[in-house]
Amino acid sequence: MALPAQKTDGADLLLARHPSPSVTTGWAGEAQTYARARLQSMGAPQRRDEYWKFTNPALLIDPETRAAVLETDKVPVFDAVDRLKMVFVDGKFSAELSDDLSLEGVEIEHLSDAMSKDIHWVREVFGVLEARGQTPVARPMAALNTAVAQDGLVIRATAEVSRPISMIYIHQDDSSDAVIHHAIRVEEGASLTILENGPAAARFNKVMEIEVADRAAFNHVRAQGRDHERKATTHMFAVLGEESQLKSFTLTVNGVLTRNEAVIEFKGDNASAHVAGAAAGDGDFHHDDTVFVTHDAVNCESRQVFKKVLRNGATGVFQGKILVKADAQKTDGYQISQGLLLDDDSQFLAKPELEIYADDVACSHGSTCGAVDETALFYLTSRGVPRSEAQDMLVLAFLDEAIQEIEDDALADDIRARLQAWMARRRG
């Protein structure tokens, strides 16, 4: 069936917006060629697409980007964490601002360097996990990313890596349009923590592919930058081996448009994956979490916890699916998405889905949307807590269920401090 012209034109527009990659041979060239073809055959996302029914992709496709308002934190998140810093400025890797690419138990290369080398594991990850994640639902922005990305990191962890690798996305140019692609493999028995923070660019497209081998562990904590006008579309594609573990948490405050997709597939038995997100939006804020978990192995556990606090006309979206294939017996799948609306102008749209073909599984999902608990608010204020502060305490408590999904307590506290500061600024 031929695609509507708007979709094919949209795809061409997207490709034309980015310079062609400099390395076009070897595994990279192959991945780029296939990705380009994928994008052209599925076309650009459109409002009419079922998968984009709650989020208008126009801001991601339109040639003109609105200038973003730059906001900088005095003390950046994760500042106190002992970590390996990898800095990107408007999507370009900055060797000067970054630490040396050397850390025990891990091999790190800049994507553009890796592209001209024959690194055999990368050819099984780069663009490959993304391609796997294109069915049953198309993710055109991720295909675009693979087709044009020149920046990012190629990371292979071979042991328990002692310090987190911290990607810092600095945004300086108020009309930058950045594409970053990370390909990660955590080898058998190894463990790795990735931190990400910063607004990255006026418009940001990021893909992170992660292969978590048998008995390996991958932790991910992200704080998306708080520039008001920034637009971001991000994808995480993860494939999990036997007895492996994945934990991913994202904090989002501000941003005119954010779409975070997580595509997780269990390939080995007895593995577990937790994805969580806390989002706080005020005003012109649209935040979309789209998650797809595929259970294709026995006795795996997946957990999704997504919380959004919305006010002054902000919109929150959650699309979450758990697909349990026929052989994935003993699957334990859980999904909760909740919106807390601080006024009548804001909205939370949720589409939770379960699709189960195995018979011996325990899956549950829930989605709620409500206002602040007046009884609790009265209790707090009756003790002398000012109303605005009392409301913030309840908001923090609401979001905390997502924050508790963070493995490391110090990182969780860091995230809490971010949120508290954000709310305190709003109280003035």
Binding site: F378, Y379, T381, S382, R383, V385, M393, A397, D400
Partner: protein, 251 residues
């Protein structure tokens, strides 16, 4: 201290009048008790005084130390020295007891233009007060009232009262759900707070608490009014004979 005059209150949502002209004056340093049948409006009075939403004051006034409190926000009333120990303390998952109490105390101090307590000073203060009420440190670390037993919740109310040191303490059935020893602890806590500059309004169904906390005046509330006031003997009379005699006498 607290002066309530001809207070009429109805529900905001439905045309239902609950308080039908309450008159009550609690002098500085005094302890007053309110007894009365279920549904007579005791809790409503305590909520209206502390500023809960959902009620319309249609007539009358209430002042604390001469200040009209009915126009104030709940947190302003707290800063002015009012405290309500809830009949049903509220569970607030995700909000730590200590964070809550410290924010409350410093919120009040700030509103009064006093110096805020730092974390160490606050911790010391709470530990001291908690010890007296036999509240263990683990409980303090938990979220507000979450997973507390009925009696623990009530003790937590008194802990908050001891830390906040209000001038006018309203206690709504703090004794119900307490075992004999806990009742003694709570009463000791209250007695330790008794002071010429602090008053108590104790709502209770039982004489027992009043054995430990000697009231100056006992009021009987029925159908939204104070129908009778007297000395401690009045509580004994209720304990022995119920409300029938008193109610028929005033009818």
């Amino acid at each position: 201290m607290l002066e309530i005059k001809n207070l009429h209150v109805s529900l905001e949502e439905e045309e239902k009048q609950i308080l039908k002209g309450v008159d009550l004056t609690v002098g500085a340093g005094q302890v007053h008790a309110i007894m009365g049948p279920n549904g007579s409006g005791k809790s409503t009075l305590s909520y209206v005084l502390s500023g809960r939403d959902g009620y319309d004051v249609t007539e009358g006034s209430a002042t604390l130390l001469g200040e009209d409190i009915l126009e104030m926000e709940p947190e302003e009333r707290a800063a002015a020295g009012l405290f309500l120990a809830f009949q049903y303390p509220v569970e607030i998952p995700g909000v730590g007891n200590m964070t809550f109490l410290r924010t409350a105390l410093n919120g009040q101090r700030k509103a009064r233009g006093e110096e805020e307590l730092n974390a160490a000073e606050f911790l010391k203060l709470v530990r001291e007060k908690a010890k007296a009420l036999k509240i263990d440190a683990d409980m303090l670390k938990r979220p507000v009232n979450v997973g507390f037993s009925g009696g623990e919740k009530k003790r937590n109310e008194i802990l908050q009262m001891s830390v906040l040191e209000p001038k006018m303490c309203i206690m709504d059935e703090t004794d119900s759900g307490l075992d004999v020893d806990a009742m003694k602890l709570v009463a000791d806590g209250v007695n330790a707070l008794r002071d010429a500059g602090r008053s108590f309004l104790v709502i209770t169904h039982y004489q027992r608490l009043l054995d430990h906390i000697q009231p100056d005046v006992v009021h009987i509330m029925a159908d939204g009014r104070i129908v009778k006031s007297g000395g401690p003997d009045l509580a004994l009379e209720v304990e022995n004979n119920g409300y029938a005699d008193i109610l028929s006498e005033v009818a």
